[in-house]
């Protein structure tokens, strides 16, 4: 009983943590380039609905994920146009993008409510999946789960060990200095937004065709905002994001596990866990957070005139 509870909790944390990790990585890349995107919630919704529709139409989850990535990137380009080219306020634009995503995904998804799909298949690794106890916990996931940690490693490598990553972080810290060093801040920020859109779209895809295997209006339920908090929690670092995503995935999973076992705690109170955890963790982190944030986060390079 206890053993299976913990096994279920671990499996659940990994499942629920995966979309959070993709979204957090995307947001971390954007913020490293100096852009806060509160529209992540909208990106995830657009990703979720695109993946679901494409999977229904083509029968292929692979194309579903591809469509989600493309849609997320396109969606973020619109955000980029507003905050980079038009220099509009990032927070207000982010919220507007969230509204846009909610409305657009509802409109696109309406005919597909109740559609059934197979979705992403669970991939069993030979031998490993048949191991007693451990096998059932560690090796029974879909492809996006297996890829999540490698993608985090890749993001880490790209940000900290390539020339491009250095430029991107330079733009986030001090765009004027980066410009003086011959970089094009706007182009780099657009690139960061495209990558973030792809990752955010995949995060949404995992929700709709990986976990739920269905579409519902506003199915992200604030996970985009939790991911924004997770970026702060992980101090803008892709590897710490893995830990954070597991922890927050765990909070979501704990609630599902306790509900499934009929424990006498109100599901509404349990549902609060991830949100309260976000705030609590940020409060504890508090003091040291400031030096970790990119220097010119939220400000847009105005040119040199």
């Amino acid at each position: 009983m206890i053993e299976s509870f913990f096994a279920g909790l671990i499996v659940g944390s990994i499942h629920s943590g995966t979309p959070l990790l993709y979204a957090t990585l995307g947001e971390a890349v954007e913020e490293r380039a100096g852009i806060v995107n509160l529209g992540l919630e909208g990106v995830m919704l657009i990703g979720a609905v695109s993946a679901f529709i494409t999977t229904v139409q083509t029968g292929s989850a692979f194309w579903g994920v591809m469509a989600a990535a493309a849609a997320g990137a396109l969606f973020n380009l619109l955000f980029g146009f507003l905050v980079i080219s038009r220099r509009a306020n990032q927070l207000a634009c982010g919220l507007a993008m969230m509204f846009f995503g909610v409305g657009l995904s509802a409109l696109l998804g309406a005919p597909y409510i109740g559609s059934r799909i197979v979705g992403l298949n669970e991939i069993r690794l030979p031998f490993l999946s048949d191991l007693p106890l451990v096998g059932s916990v560690v090796f029974h996931y879909d492809i996006l789960v297996y890829l999540a940690v490698p993608v985090a490693l890749l993001t880490w490598g790209a940000l900290f060990f390539t020339r491009w990553g250095l430029s991107l972080r330079a733009v986030g810290e001090n765009p004027l200095a980066a410009f003086a060093a011959g970089k094009n801040p706007h182009r780099i920020q657009y690139q960061a937004l495209i990558i973030a859109g792809i990752l955010g779209g995949i995060a949404g895809a995992h929700l709709s065709i990986g976990l739920a295997k269905t579409w519902a209006e506003w199915m992200t339920a604030g996970r985009g905002f939790i991911a924004v908090a997770l970026v702060i929690f992980s101090k803008w670092h892709p590897l710490r994001a893995i830990l954070g995503a597991l922890l927050f995935g765990g909070a979501i999973a704990l609630q599902l596990q306790m509900q499934a076992r009929g424990l006498p705690v109100s599901p509404f109170l349990l549902d609060m866990l991830p949100y309260l955890l976000s705030i609590g963790v940020l409060a504890v982190w508090g003091g040291s957070r400031r030096q970790a944030a990119p220097g010119s986060l939220g400000r847009v390079f105005q040119g040199t005139e």
């Binding site: 507003l82 409305g103 604030g222 109100s266 609060m272 409060a283």
Partner: protein
């Protein structure tokens, strides 16, 4: 509104090129939304006739638009008040729910009190509920622990779940079978309405709050200090202005105003607490405050516009079988054109 010269200025403003530009921008957003509808095989002209005909075309429609404006004015103020010192309150939705929760507690517990006692009581409770919810985020910010943007956002979800907890659990009305709702309030707990419409006392509360806020801002020492903090925080700090106290206080007041919106919704419109209390009034209020750029007339105009849009959602759902959430697209488009326009001029940092 507050002085003859103010009224004159307002008149001049209406005929200024600024108002004309705003109108053109609005048309642009409406055209873009029409295009979206067209792409999805809906008839945009019929959609607009439905929306505007049902909201502006009749006395009843107009009064219902006014009813929707009440919570929007209050939630817009909830954003505008803290924004005077660069605080970003995205928690209007949660503060509204908490205000409704506390007001409901008052109405259910002290239901036998007479109206003249009960209404002020639930008003204070509504303000306190939203205020404490916002003030908590203010405290976290003042200590330098959590940015108020992210904490107010996340607290929205907590507040809505808290209301669900009470409505599905301890406060559930045993008589209304499976509907998750509290028992109906007693007569004494219902805010009075005017002229046989549903336009209620909340309108007076909202307008009073707005006048009071702009009076404090322009005529008192507190307003001066707030402006000082807003313009140059460091200079204000060195002049001994208690910045942290302002952070907590302004988020408390802002939250309280959103809480009043929640109180007036449960008391005057719903008559009981339900989990689906607000169709996103808090978020819409945020957009209104942004569109208005801090001007009181701007808040009224934008609140009117967005209450038409909000009502439009319900109308489209009924007449065109489009999901109600679709009006979020129109709302976003309106904001896009406003933000892109203003950003281009470099007026907003």
């Amino acid at each position: 509104m507050n002085s003859p010269s103010g009224g004159l200025q307002a008149l001049r403003k209406i005929y200024s090129p600024g108002a004309l530009r705003a109108f053109v921008l609005l048309l642009l957003a409406l055209a873009a939304f029409a295009l979206v509808l067209l792409i999805f095989g809906k008839n945009p002209i019929k959609a607009y006739i439905d929306i505007f005909g049902n909201t502006l075309g009749s006395g009843y429609g107009l009064s219902e638009t006014l009813v929707k404006m009440i919570p929007l004015i209050l939630t817009a103020l909830a954003v505008a008040v803290p924004s005077r010192i660069w605080l970003i309150n995205v928690g209007g939705e949660g503060q509204l729910y908490l205000g409704a929760l506390l007001a409901t507690w008052g109405a259910l517990t002290f239901g036998s009190l007479p109206t003249w006692l009960l209404i002020p009581l639930i008003t204070v409770l509504g303000f306190l509920g939203g205020g404490l919810w916002g003030g908590l985020c203010g405290y976290l910010r003042a200590r330098g622990w959590v940015s108020e943007t992210i904490s107010t956002l996340l607290m929205n979800y907590v507040a809505i779940l808290l209301v669900s907890f009470f409505v599905f659990g301890p406060w559930k009305d045993t008589e209304s079978a499976n509907y998750p709702q509290t028992p109906e309030f007693s007569e004494a707990a219902v805010l009075p309405a005017f002229f046989g419409t549903r336009v209620h006392m909340g309108l007076v509360i909202g307008l009073t709050a707005m006048i009071l806020f702009f009076f404090v801002l322009s005529r008192t020492r507190w307003g001066l200090e707030m402006r000082a903090i807003g313009v140059n925080t460091e200079a204000a700090r060195r002049n001994g202005i208690p910045i942290n106290r302002y952070i907590i206080l302004l988020l408390f007041i802002g939250g309280g105003l959103a809480g009043l919106a929640g109180m007036s919704e449960v008391s005057a419109i719903q008559g009981r607490l339900r989990p689906s209390l607000s169709p996103g009034f808090g978020y819409t209020g945020f957009l209104i405050s942004w569109m208005a750029g801090g001007s009181p007339l701007g808040i009224l105009a934008a609140a009117f516009l967005l209450s038409v849009v909000t009502a439009g959602g319900d109308i489209l759902q009924m007449t065109q079988a489009i999901p109600g959430a679709v009006v979020n697209i129109l709302m976003a488009l309106i904001l896009f054109v406003v933000l892109a326009r203003r950003g281009g001029k470099g007026a907003v940092k």
